[in-house]
Symmetry: C2
Subunit: 409 residues, 2 copies
């Protein structure tokens, strides 16, 4: 019988047809529908065992929610004490765009400087618990850096394939963590094909986005933390930079689980999927009223983390957006770049391009009236802006060592 004391994980279900799968053997996509599998927890049992007060008394990291995470044996949790990132107000930027109750959930403090560490912390720990010795994944950079770091920590061999356009530093992070890193002169979809071929030969676990069921569980902790930081109530809007969309899917999953536990009421935040104009397959499907996302070609955006032309979880993103009366919106690179500078100079927070895209989207949605002045709005800054040296480079004057600042005044 399964020990429910640390994790209340009970089974996996196909996200399309609900067919059940064993959660304690390695799984990738569902065999029935080739769709992502999602973890199910025994929330009925948990409801009687766990209270928000229990959570509050625990260490300030994402493992405080361990009953809602898939790792059964805490000895496999070998991370960096990650999670419980700060959420704070952006009063000046909020005032400037007419959203005075604007807050940011800042994911920069996570290991390797991005929210990808959440998926890696949980995904790698669970993979280690299920006996994985080697895994492979395509990445737009930050996920590769994060998974390589956690694999090093857990003693798992990692193969990472990333496009040459991915932020340069993420290559070094993954390689120095001991991963086998290949740069491909293409997009993440090309990297994905290469990984698929390698996995097909056997002996390597496929850790691609949503092709294994536990990365999304790690991302789910973003939602758990936001709701806890609001005192177990929902803000009006959460805007999320959406490439693969796992974070948005995870936040929505957190909301549903918390409702089932009775920790939050019926109000859910309206979820906003923010994409770039140069890569907006989810926005297109949303506007056409479709359930499935069509792959795009030759996509391009400076917000490289959301350059995902064919998101496997598109259907789940659309479901979350629609179920919460949310929306999907694309922003231009020019606009989001300007919000990097506005946020940095007004608030002292240098967001990553993906994070800045959410601020851009909120400004546009306020202008259109979709967001009202009284709405409490949370934007996700999914990573540290200082990892994007090229995107944020500023030209500055150089003076000689005998120069004077006084002359320049």
């Amino acid at each position: 019988m399964t020990d429910l004391s640390f994790s209340y994980l009970s089974e996996l279900r196909c996200s399309k047809c609900d067919e059940r799968y064993d959660a304690d053997t390695l799984q990738n996509l569902s065999r029935c529908c080739s769709a992502p599998l999602l973890a199910v927890y025994d929330l009925t049992a948990l409801r009687d065992e766990l209270t928000p007060a229990d959570i509050a008394s625990r260490p300030s990291n994402l493992w405080r929610y361990h009953e809602l995470l898939p790792v059964r044996d805490p000895r496999f949790v070998r991370g960096f004490d990650e999670g419980m990132t700060p959420m704070f107000g952006l009063p000046r930027l909020g005032e400037a765009i007419g959203v005075p109750r604007l807050l940011v959930k800042d994911e920069a403090p996570l290991p390797t400087g991005s929210f990808k560490a959440r998926g890696a912390a949980v995904g790698v720990s669970r993979a280690a618990e299920l006996g994985v010795r080697r895994l492979a994944m395509p990445t737009n950079g930050n996920a590769g850096a994060a998974w390589a770091a956690y694999c090093a920590r857990s003693g798992i061999e990692a193969t990472v394939v990333m496009p040459t356009d991915a932020p340069t530093i993420t290559r070094s992070e993954a390689a120095l963590a001991g991963a086998s890193v290949t740069l491909v002169n293409g997009l993440i979809s090309d990297a994905g094909r290469m990984v698929g071929e390698l996995v097909g030969r056997g002996g390597v676990f496929d850790a691609s986005t949503l092709k294994e069921p536990y990365r999304v569980e790690g991302k789910k902790t973003m939602g758990l933390e936001i709701l806890e930081q609001f005192g177990w109530r929902a803000p009006d809007v959460i805007a999320y930079p959406t490439g693969g969309g796992v974070g948005l899917i995870g936040i929505y999953k957190a909301l549903l689980e918390l409702q089932t536990l009775g920790w939050i009421g019926s109000k859910l935040p309206r979820m906003v999927a923010v994409q770039a104009e140069g890569c907006d397959p989810i926005v297109q499907a949303f506007e056409r009223g479709e359930d499935e996302v069509q792959a795009q070609q030759d996509t391009r955006t400076i917000a490289f983390g959301i350059n995902v032309p064919s998101p496997l979880g598109g259907r789940l993103v659309l479901e979350a957006v629609r179920a919460t009366n949310g929306t999907a919106i694309a922003v231009s690179d020019e606009d989001l770049l300007s919000y990097i500078g506005r946020c940095a100079s007004m608030e002292g927070l240098l967001p990553c391009p993906e994070g800045a895209s959410t601020m851009t989207a909120v400004a546009a949605l306020r202008k259109s009236g979709w967001i009202s002045e009284s709405d409490e709005v949370v934007v996700l800054n999914t990573g540290a802006g200082n990892k994007y040296a090229d995107a944020v480079a500023v030209e500055l004057p150089i003076v000689q060592r005998d120069a004077s600042l006084v002359d320049a005044q």
Copy 2:
């Protein structure tokens, strides 16, 4: 009468002759000795008012120690919910160097990716409270990025001067946060001279290291956190990358205040000041048994944050090291670079060069027998390795989009 409810700050004292100064007006170096001023708190009163249990019940950020910090009015605390960074074991690296009880206090999660955020959080908040509208400072990069960010948050105009060799990203961070940034073709000492000249003209507060009294109070929180994370007892050794040395001075100050409060016993950790062979004025003074540090010329190290040829707080660092039966040691760039890679591949943590210098030093001190196998040793990783793109760059193969990973196996 001063309200002691939020801060128990009572006065400032000259670090050389103990002369008293008013803590509620702007101060720079002491007029008596041109030495740093240090903040004094009414610990006798505080001892009856505050317990470790009170601290434990507070939010997980550095302001949980507000009674031991100089800001009197919480409305001036306008940061990013910073502090309480993780401390975790480095079991494989520790095993490899013969120090199985090796831990790292990882400062990478702080805003702007380095421990400099602690000094800026407290220094800028206190400067705002005391009416500063404009400040200037020399920096080796990360401090400029941090102070610019907090100045933006607090609405203070910042002038930052940094050497051209400082990490490139820190220029952009400071400039995007709205600071006036000048790059000087020289060292931090040249930048310091330029700032001094500007400050001499009036209207600009000098926020140079230890020339204002509150940055060190922010750094002190590193010590408070380490001791709290150990359950209010001291580890055997703390190794600190030492340039200006404010962090080490701050940690030592934390230890003394906690002893006075009766929260820790008589045992103190042996403090190790780690420098680079290319810039080791404190090590030289320590080895010669001197109390004052002699300035060095043409210093050079890849651990740019500790390239401080003439540290103003050298005397205080030597005092802390000697009072705790500690030591001072210099490591080579070659060795510290190798520890960046060793830590990344063994533990998944990519340290900054300065952080890697402490691991290098601990390995050397273990070899010499100064550190024993049973010692519990904490190294400080003062910043995110991923901010040092050049220092950690790795050459990797690029393949075309139709390539196969299988061929390469």
